[in-house]
Symmetry: C2
Subunit: 365 residues, 2 copies
DNA sequence: TTGTATGCGTTATCAG
DNA sequence: CTGATAACGCATACAA
């Protein structure tokens, strides 16, 4: 994918237009940047010439090199690019970002940090795009791109993860939200729980969330949610270490379905499942029903996010203001004065997926 | 959102690193670009110094100015930025684009041409992003950005719309697909049709798709679909001008619901509705059911796209390979040799939304 | 109101 | 393997 002067003729520049019109190249530049500095007539003349010569305005790269900014912002995330378009929650955040970008007339560059994680030995760049600032969206705290972004001396905002000193933050109170979800289930009478956790560290582990892993959770949102769940359970006299948990490497229904298989096949089948995302929960619901169990008669389940599909699935969940996360992130990036943090409110949404635990002890058969 | 030297210290450049290590700046540049040209030891030394000084690699803008390419491609569309994240079909195309970008390790800049349509008097730039090529996704043919993109002398690919001389094209046979949809309904015995059309021109018109508007359709995909529908009907002896059609300004369920209201309130209520998108069709289904009518007993309906929601809604439709559109577009953009066109295959998907027309003439009451 | 000179950070060319 | 030198296309004091 080469560029410039490949269609044959050389690229038309400011200077060419200037020569054609018979003015200096500064004047042409002014015509674009400072309309007021020119007579309207000259301006029109310049634009006409530009039009005819096929000059499409200042070259973005050159402009940025000279001015120091590009009029675009980067949205950076850990997963690979396609993932962003498959996760409804991410999409909604992006939607918010897009709305703000639209108002600001800035472009939006999507940058996957995944690629810069592959070759660890070579100092790779943080995406190729020239941007004026980055929104770090739920990137792994130990990811190299965090460091690189910080060094880059451009405005930063992080959404969800990780919390960085001196960098504005947009997120929710994950601990509180999780706590309330667990509390709701406890109040319905549940005493036997299972947890479906999202990934806790930057490896490809999946399986039982062991005590060791529980103690070393790199992703703060996950740590907070787990803490919220377990605190509520502990307050009800349920020892955290007795609560089975399954760690899921990627936020998908399939992975949730698999995790649920683990939980419902335990000797003492949980009557309530706490899932850290709706996609995982919805996958789990399929497993549960495929096993011949009813929701919520046999097992209750609670999600997280409130993606559109949650309503369809009649899944109780925690509603996150995803879109607002996006708009707030852009706002903070643009203002960049207060560098304060924004903690958005969540809302507990009760739907048909939760109910009282079964009367007869379902000691499995 | 200023940039550079704002965190206090000046931006560290190639030259600074070179001075620190005691080599020329060319050598440092080579360390990044041409690893083979240096002794491994020197390379390490340079990287170590860079690391310590906080040099994050070549500045993207400067690099692009020098090399002529940026490692990013632009995805350009007519609607505003947020729309892209709300339309499932667009999203799937983007997903395909993202997959290819991910493999190529190029960034993806989302550019809304909408903003450049506002101020028509000033020559605005085609987005601020510096990109190596554009994918024009279903932009209005008369949009200025089409011209600007062409002048820009960078590789172009258009998806769906418009067809441009010398520019590779990715799309489907809209006419054929629409023809088959109508044919399917005809074979079920329907004789009374209604059409829900997407917007035909670059205005904000909504309402009856008049004869005059039918004759002046700017959007080729829409023209082809309409032609496909009407050709099938005409072959069955139904005069095109007798078929009521409603034009919808924006592809949404709400707009579809409104259009359906027009159709089912006609003196002779259609027994079959042909909708140019699934979203529109799904909105229409709501209206139909809200009016106390059954699908397909009272009215059959056919969509277009096969977005995920179509399956849920049990809507018959034309499946478009949206994701493949994206991957093909990138492929064409990168190769840029054959500059051939790619017409992807569609598939007619029959679901529960279509059936035989009611026996008794429902002459409305 | 318009033009001149200089710098932006990098890559490429072509010597040594 | 290394280092001067010249682009790259534009913006911006500053001077005219």
């Amino acid at each position: 994918m080469k560029t410039t002067r490949q269609h044959g003729r050389r690229k038309v520049t400011l200077k060419d237009v200037a020569a054609q019109v018979g003015v200096s190249h500064t004047t042409v530049s002014n015509a674009y940047i400072r309309p007021g500095q020119l007579s309207a007539a000259l301006r029109e003349k310049i634009f006409a010439a530009a039009q005819e010569m096929g000059y499409t305005g200042p070259d973005p790269a050159a402009k940025q090199l000279a001015t120091g900014h590009s009029g675009a912002l980067g949205f950076l995330f850990s997963e690979d690019l396609p993932y962003a378009f498959s996760d409804p929650a991410v999409l909604t955040v992006l939607n918010g970002v897009a709305k703000s970008c639209n108002e600001l007339e800035t472009d939006l560059a999507l940058i996957s940090a995944g690629s810069s994680l592959r070759n660890m030995n070579t100092p790779v760049s943080l995406g190729n795009a020239a941007v004026d600032g980055y929104i770090l969206y739920s990137v792994a705290p130990d990811s190299r791109c965090v460091m690189m972004a910080q060094q880059r001396n451009v405005p930063l905002v992080v959404v969800d993860q990780p919390r960085l000193d001196g960098v504005p933050y947009v997120g929710i109170d994950d601990r509180d939200a999780a706590y309330k979800a667990a509390k709701t289930l406890l109040e319905l009478g549940h005493r036997s729980f299972g947890i479906l956790s999202l990934k806790t560290a930057h490896d490809d582990y999946f399986g039982i969330l062991t005590a060791k892993r529980r103690a070393n959770i790199a992703h703060s949102t996950i740590a907070m949610r787990l803490e919220g769940y377990l605190t509520a359970l502990q307050e009800a006299g349920i020892a955290p270490e007795t609560v089975p948990a399954w760690e899921i490497p990627i936020n998908s229904e399939e992975a949730g379905a698999e995790g649920a298989r683990f939980l419902i096949n335990r000797p003492e089948r949980p009557t309530a499942i706490l899932a850290m995302s709706d996609r995982v929960a919805i996958g789990a619901m399929k497993t549960i029903r495929a096993a011949g169990l009813s929701i919520p008669q046999d097992v209750s389940i609670f999600g997280f996010d409130d993606i559109p599909a949650a309503a369809t699935a009649d899944l109780s969940t925690i509603r996150q203001p995803h879109e607002q996360k996006g708009t707030e992130a852009v706002r903070l990036l643009v203002q960049q004065d207060g560098r304060q943090n924004v903690i958005l409110k969540t809302e507990l949404v009760k739907r048909g997926s939760i109910g009282q635990p079964p009367k007869a002890e379902p000691s499995r058969g």
